[in-house]
């Protein structure tokens, strides 16, 4: 844009260190790449040591921004407090979780949340073995499940949204941190079912069949639209960045975070994630300018089914 030239002359220098969730990574990477075009002297690095790994570094003051695919936990907040670190929590995009089967699978057209629960809950382990146990119209074929690696944010979210408790899942399924590996697995398996980020489905449409999820309002397939307007429930989750409040006093970090919020929507879409609404970005930016620290999910408030705008407004009112 036209402002770039003037920006450059007064552009900041320095380094911004980002690390954390591998799910949020592509967004941060895209933002960093674009940011570099206008402020080439700021060296932004992005790592992906997982949400947990990111918070660990964050609480040791090793990084400025932590990417997270779930809200910060009470323990992690404690660690930050101990180290004298305050943080600003900023939602940046949604990630829809897609439930998919192989193209060869002909019998599943949609699944209800209850059926998904029956399929995935811990009690299912060793007992729910064939598809006819899920719905009597399904054939008596063995069930093969693929899912997010148990150390990932995706896993935490899926289990919470479907089975009602974080980490509550059957264990006899194939897990991988690497969603491509899951794509590969389920696409070769006509009795398989998998869940992973929507972006991976969109890149592998030819191999996979998307399963609409019925949350009581009829089956809805995830898409940019249904995730964005909140109708694809409960499998869309928000993604965050956490900014170290002290780092936020630095000019280059301020520039970067603002740039992040302004461009996250566009870039998220490009990557295959779903942007928040314009209003929500606005609220988020205000939150940053005002340096509102702490989390919107205090007391372990669940993120499942909550609308981001409600939360942001609520915070503002506080």
């Amino acid at each position: 844009g036209g402002g770039q030239k003037t920006n450059k002359t007064e552009s900041a220098t320095g380094a911004i260190k980002i690390d954390g969730s591998s799910t949020v990574y592509p967004v941060s990477e895209a933002v960093a790449e674009e940011f570099r075009a206008i402020q080439p002297n700021v060296n932004v690095t992005v790592g992906e040591s997982g949400t947990g790994g990111g918070f660990k570094k964050f609480s040791r003051n090793e990084i400025d921004i932590s990417d997270a695919s779930r809200p910060i936990t009470v323990e992690e907040i404690e660690a930050c407090t101990k180290a004298g670190i305050n943080f600003i929590e900023i939602p940046v995009a949604f990630d829809g979780l897609a439930v998919v089967v192989s193209k060869q699978n002909t019998f599943i057209d949609h699944l209800t949340v209850a059926e998904l629960k029956k399929l995935w809950e811990p009690a299912a382990q060793g007992t729910v073995k064939t598809w006819d146990q899920i719905r009597s119209s399904f054939p008596k074929e063995p069930i093969k499940l693929y899912g997010a690696g148990t150390a990932s944010g995706t896993y935490d979210y899926f289990t919470e949204a479907i089975c009602g408790k974080k980490g509550a899942s059957r264990g006899d399924y194939t897990a991988s941190e690497d969603d491509n590996v899951l794509v590969q697995g389920v696409s070769n398996d006509k009795n398989g079912l998998a869940y992973f980020g929507l972006a991976y489905y969109e890149q592998n449409i030819d191999k996979l069949k998307l399963i609409p999820v019925d949350n009581g309002n009829g089956p809805i397939a995830p898409s940019q639209e249904t995730v964005g307007n909140g109708t694809y429930q409960p499998l869309s989750r928000p993604e965050f960045i956490y900014v170290n409040a002290k780092s936020a006093e630095r000019k280059e970090v301020q520039d970067f975070v603002k740039f992040y919020i302004q461009n996250a929507g566009k870039l998220a879409k490009e990557i295959g994630y779903v942007p928040l609404g314009d209003a929500e970005y606005k609220l988020a930016e205000e939150r940053f300018t005002k340096k509102v620290t702490g989390t919107m999910f205090a007391n372990g408030k669940s993120i499942v089914g909550t609308k981001m705008s409600d939360l942001l407004k609520l915070e503002e009112g506080k």
């Binding site: 997982g50 896993y155 991988s176």
Partner: protein
């Protein structure tokens, strides 16, 4: 003056070799500190005898056996590939092949061990597994078999090169005696050379095993990450190493018991390889004495 200089140099060199001891100490200390914490919450008995490994599930179970069985299963498959192939190749290169062929083939095979293992992982997942599935329709997308086979190919050079070295180290006079008696090459190889080099060959195999046990990327990508107490190669399994990377890259909150579990797993892994390495070292000692 000169004596002092000599002493100082010896001191420096001594320090250089001590670094290796410090490394071992470092590993042991770091692993045990966290493991110690871990065992405050988890009973050791459960850890070593439990048959379920679900530290990241709501209902946490800390039985390492599924990870151990996954590790052993993939290793076993790998050795079943690498041992016959590697040994046959070693014998062939040592007894049959002419020098130029050997000088060419040996380094070529060694490339197998030099290829980054990430590459093998995807090779197993996207190439070997689909091929195997045409023969074994019930084979899942992730399975111990495909990962083990590819890992086996990867460690072929450990067996072939080191066994060949051991065979070469057998005094030529033995070989000459065997031929002089009118043995065929096959008889010379199996009745004289192989028994004479047996401890060297065993060392190479043990090192290959310990390499397979420690291998991470291939199994992480191709074996699935499902901790399952099974010895069925068609199943997906999880190895100890896989679990460690998985948690290192994932979402697990710090200072949690889940996080500490990787140290407990790490020390188990260290212990496994430690035992093997010591056996091989001991064998090597014995072997060297024999021909000096």
């Amino acid at each position: 003056m000169q004596k002092i200089k000599e002493k100082i140099i010896e001191g420096i060199l001594f320090f250089c070799s001590s670094i290796t001891v410090l490394t071992t100490l470092g590993i042991i200390i770091i692993l045990t500190i966290e493991t110690f914490q871990f065992f405050k919450d988890v009973s050791i008995v459960e850890f070593f005898t439990g048959t379920e490994w679900t530290p990241l599930f709501a209902n946490k179970k800390f039985g390492i056996l599924p990870l151990v069985s996954g590790t052993l299963l993939t290793t076993l498959i790998a050795i079943l590939v690498a041992l016959p192939l590697g040994l046959t190749i070693a014998i062939y290169l040592n007894e049959y092949a002419d020098k130029r062929f050997k000088a060419f083939i040996k380094p070529l095979l060694e490339i197998l061990a030099a290829i980054p293992t990430v590459v093998y992982g995807f090779f197993a997942l996207t190439f070997i597994t689909p091929i195997l599935q045409t023969f074994i329709p019930s084979l899942g997308g992730f399975n111990a078999l495909s990962a083990g086979l590819v890992m086996g190919v990867m460690i072929i050079p450990y067996v072939s090169s080191m066994s060949e070295d051991a065979l070469s180290a057998v005094p030529n006079s033995l070989r000459e005696a065997a031929y002089g008696m009118g043995s065929t090459r096959l008889q010379t190889a199996f009745k004289v050379m192989l028994p004479a080099a047996s401890s060297g060959v065993i060392v190479s195999v043990i090192l290959a095993i310990s390499r397979a046990i420690g291998e991470t990327m291939i199994v992480a990508v191709a074996a699935g990450q499902e901790p399952k107490l099974t010895f069925n190669p068609l199943n997906s399994v999880e190895t100890i190493t896989t679990y460690i990377v998985q948690v290192s890259m994932g979402d697990v909150p710090q200072n949690s018991i889940e996080f500490r579990s990787i140290f407990a797993a790490g020390i188990t892994l260290f212990g496994l390889t430690f035992i093997l390495n010591n056996i091989s070292f001991w064998m090597k000692r014995k072997f060297q004495q024999k021909y000096e």
